[in-house]
């Protein structure tokens, strides 16, 4: 009976897509691609559906696309030289969600509060010129990971200005190895972006950077993404940060299943991540926009009717009052996860539960046994004394 319940439970959790089988292919179908071309295709087969993930850097904008189909569907990429010409799924996806970083903004934060505000001077650096190079990759059935870097400007003051991007997928639920230790699941991919050695504009005294993100979902274009911030009791994995921010697609918000971004409002101003180097990551409001021209997104969503595709953008800005702006450390790193389904919720660790049970259990056991002991002793004592007087 019990075994049956357990089996049903395991079966159900499998059916709800807890774990998936992942197969990763770099530049599938391209025979002449080198490390200067990076398009990773990851097929994640679950119990009832398949998530196709495309991590693309070929058309300059770092892009992650999720497409959900039934099992046994395939994805095919055709190429012209080292550029993808078409990305075609064997069946129409039941749902799709995507994000891309299209611009980097430098802004003069005269209020010194880390918000990117239209009233202050700002410059947008489009990422559509950047060439991305593959630095390292792991492509196995246990993990799919790529680390790419793009050089923003080669020869300003001799140090290259670099944007690093790392994407990581594992087929089970776990906490990321690096701070802020976000949860990744088989349904979500960890994206870590760092801005290293960027040269700030001479005319700005208070330069900070912000990422401009595009959010795309196969929801009606009249809907909107939803920003939710919740607090967890548990900052065990991200010391000192209790908030979790989720950007939910309309279908997730309304029906409980859909695309999302999840992250902690924290960024790091040094390579050595820790409480002392942590700073704030802030999200702006959403606004509506269009798919960028010549992008992989445009290619992938070419067949979809404009009215059925929600395209919005937002800023994520970094820094907090009094931190000395970007130039203080010349470094900013930020992580988020992009996923499908329902965002994972963190729970108390085994250690926490153990301390509470030992801490509460021992005194109670001690008190009970102590009281029993004292009562017994007194009882015996009284008894023996009574006997003694009787004999007397």
């Amino acid at each position: 009976m019990n075994l049956q319940t357990i089996l049903i439970f395991i079966g159900l959790s499998y059916a709800y897509g807890q774990d998936r089988k992942i197969t990763a292919k770099l530049n599938p179908g391209c025979n002449i691609c080198s490390s200067n071309t990076t398009l990773l295709y990851v097929k994640c087969d679950g119990a009832s559906d398949t998530i196709h993930q495309i991590w693309d850097f070929t058309r300059h904008l770092p892009t992650v696309i999720f497409a959900v189909t039934s099992l046994n569907s395939t994805l095919n990429v055709t190429w012209t030289d080292t550029l993808p010409k078409s990305i075609v799924l064997s069946e129409e996806p039941s749902y799709s969600f995507a994000t891309a970083i299209d611009k980097l903004y430098e802004y003069d934060d005269l209020d010194d509060n880390g918000h990117i505000d239209p009233k202050f001077p700002q410059k947008a650096y489009k990422l559509d010129r950047i060439r991305w190079h593959l630095n390292e990759s792991i492509l196995s059935d246990k993990e799919a990971m790529i680390h790419v870097y793009g050089i923003l400007n080669e020869e300003r003051r001799g140090r290259p200005e670099i944007i690093n991007i790392k994407l990581d997928l594992i087929p089970f639920k776990d906490y990321a190895a690096d701070l802020p230790h976000l949860i990744h699941t088989a349904n979500s991919t960890l994206v870590d972006v760092s801005l290293v050695n960027l040269t700030t504009s001479r005319e700005y005294n208070a330069s900070r950077y912000a990422l401009h993100l595009l959010l795309i979902s196969s929801d009606p274009a009249v809907e909107t993404m939803h920003y939710t911030m919740r607090k967890s009791l548990d900052d065990e994995h991200t010391p000192g940060v209790f908030e979790i921010i989720e950007i939910k697609s309309p279908s997730l918000f309304d029906e409980g299943e859909g695309g999302y971004l999840q992250f902690r409002p924290v960024a790091y101003s040094e390579d050595a991540r820790g409480v002392a180097s942590s700073t704030v990551a802030r999200v702006s409001a959403f606004s509506r926009t269009d798919l960028p021209r010549h992008s992989t997104l445009k290619l992938f969503y070419s067949d979809i009717d404009q009215a059925d595709l929600l395209v919005q953008d937002m800023f994520v800005s970094f820094g907090e009052t009094g931190d000395g702006y970007y130039k203080q450390h010349n470094y900013t790193a930020w992580s988020f996860t992009i996923g499908y389904g329902a965002p994972p919720v963190e729970g108390f660790s085994f250690f926490v539960i153990m301390i509470i049970s030992i801490g509460l259990g021992v005194p109670i056991v001690l008190a009970l046994s102590g009281i029993t002991y004292v009562l017994l002793r007194r009882y015996r004592h009284n008894n023996s004394r009574t006997r003694f007087t009787n004999e007397d």
Partner: protein, 513 residues
């Protein structure tokens, strides 16, 4: 009390005892009392300046929590030793006046060096400053208590002790209230770590103020000595005998476990509390400081009432267990809920002062009177040692595992002290001890029981304090004669001045049965 001959010889203008300038006049002594209250204000104020500016230490000086915690830890290190010899040095070598001024100067120098370290952003200098500050801080309290014993006696003494200590704690509270506005004001003129340094320089002025009070009081005391012909008694024997340790009962060691474990869940919490309130409960810095100050404020305000409560009801162990349980409740509330932290912190403050009122008299009940000095010294040393090591650990926990784990750690400490308290209760009832009896039962026991080895010294001790009260009630001054009773009283006051006051941040319970 007065000694006209000696003042005549000294050639001091004789003032009538009715004049407010006369040292035995109420007004005059009231002025002395106010000065005494301010003596420790500066050191208590500056002790918690890092806590009140915790987020600024992170942002301006870029300290991580471990480095920040070391600022508190380093304060406790010298006191592991100094709590034994600080008072002894005053008695034997410095004298009260010089001793107070020396310790106060050390405190002031420490505060200034610390501020300088922050101003030039040199971490080692900050640590050095806090170390110097620690050398003076605790010993200063001993010296000030000696002043209190010298100027006040009998029933007055308890009240003055209580008042002086409450006022000192109030220094910490005020620190939490004003440092944030001061910092923001300074920020108009300075930037980066310099503004933090300047804010701390301003804070160190409270120590200068206390030093000035110390100088005035020193002058008043010097004058009083001449006018009253008072002689400062030399302590005859060093009241600390390490060999006594061997004779302490297991119950004493359990009490000292509570002394360490319980306080670990209070002081490090206050030190690291500001950022916790800001981050978990979204408080602005000023509000976070106000919440944090509530522990001190409530314990300062409630201690006298809890003192009376425990006097009337006895049953100290039950009160101790109760206050540990409510403390656990408060920490639970802050760890596992988002309930407004005022609730948790206020109940923490109440529990903390209830515990202090219940716990410390236990030491006096367990240990023989002539070993009291050693007993309190040990309690204080282990407490300082505990704080010194654990605050560092607490900082590392915050950096690596976050505030939830820190709360778990505090809960762990409280569970240890709860176990110790339950063990005390069991040991005591198994041996038919007196620790948990009501006052009337203690009285009855004293009259009827054949004195066993277990309770003899305790009841003797109870006898003697009753007699103390009688003496005081009779209006006799303990300082005008050389009767053995008086010298015993004096010795007891001395011990009290050296240890009890430090242990009880705000309670005024001396050696009560």
């Amino acid at each position: 009390m007065e000694n006209p001959e000696s003042s005549g010889i000294m050639g001091v203008t004789q003032e009538a005892p009715t004049s407010w300038c006369h040292p035995s006049n109420r007004v005059h002594r009231f002025i002395a009392l106010i000065l005494m209250c301010f003596l420790c204000f500066g050191s208590y104020f500056c002790y918690d300046t890092p806590g009140a500016l915790a987020d600024n230490f992170k942002d301006d000086s870029h300290l991580n929590t471990s480095q920040f915690a070391l600022l508190y830890s380093i304060y406790s290190w010298p006191n592991v030793i100094l709590c034994f010899i600080g008072g002894y040095l005053v008695d034997r070598y410095f004298g009260i006046r010089l001793g107070t001024i020396i310790y106060m100067t050390i405190v002031f120098v420490g505060a200034v060096v610390f501020a300088l370290g922050v101003y030039i952003n040199a971490y080692w200098l900050m640590i050095l400053g806090r170390f110097i500050f620690g050398i003076g801080g605790e010993s200063l309290q001993v010296a000030v208590n000696s002043y209190v014993v010298l100027w006040f006696n009998g029933k007055e003494l308890n009240m003055v002790f209580g008042l002086q200590l409450s006022f000192s704690r109030f220094g910490s509270t005020v620190n939490f209230w004003v440092m944030e506005p001061i910092y923001r004001w300074v920020a108009n003129y300075y930037g980066g770590y310099e503004k933090l340094g300047v804010a701390l320089f301003i804070a160190s002025m409270t120590c200068l103020g206390s030093l000035i009070c110390g100088l005035i009081l020193g002058w008043m005391d010097h004058r009083a000595e001449r006018i009253l012909g008072r002689q400062e008694e030399q302590a005859k024997a060093e009241p600390f005998h390490l060999i006594d340790v061997l004779h302490f009962k297991p119950v004493f060691w359990l009490v000292s476990v509570i002394c360490v474990a319980y306080y670990l869940a209070i002081f490090p919490f206050i030190a690291l509390g500001k950022l916790f309130f800001e981050r978990k409960f979204d408080f602005i810095p000023q509000d976070a400081n106000t919440v944090n100050s509530m522990v001190y404020l409530f314990s300062a305000a409630l201690s006298p009432f809890f003192g009376i409560l425990i006097d009337k009801t006895g049953r100290n162990v039950m009160w101790v267990i109760l206050s540990i349980i409510t403390t656990i409740g408060s920490h639970f509330l802050m760890a596992f809920t988002f309930v407004n932290p005022y609730v948790g912190v206020v109940s923490l403050g109440i529990s903390y002062s209830l515990l202090a009122s219940g716990l410390w008299p236990l030491v006096a009940m367990i240990v023989q009177e002539n070993q009291l000095g050693t007993a309190f010294g040990i309690c204080q040393a282990v407490q300082n040692l505990g704080l010194a090591t654990v605050i560092i650990l607490a900082g590392v926990i915050v950096d690596k595992y976050g505030y939830l784990m820190l709360e778990m750690f505090f809960l762990g400490c409280l569970f240890v002290s709860l176990i110790a308290a339950v063990l005390i209760y069991i040991l005591d009832s198994a041996n038919k001890g007196v620790l948990n009896l009501s006052p009337s039962m203690r009285e009855a026991l004293k009259k009827t029981t054949v004195r066993t080895e277990e309770t003899a010294n305790l009841l003797e001790h109870a006898d003697s304090s009753d007699q103390d009260e009688a003496d005081v009630g009779g209006g006799a001054s303990p300082r005008d004669g050389a009767s053995p009773r008086d010298s015993a009283q004096l010795q007891s006051d001395r011990i009290r001045s050296r240890y009890i006051a430090q242990l009880l941040p705000t309670t005024n319970i001396p050696d009560r049965p």
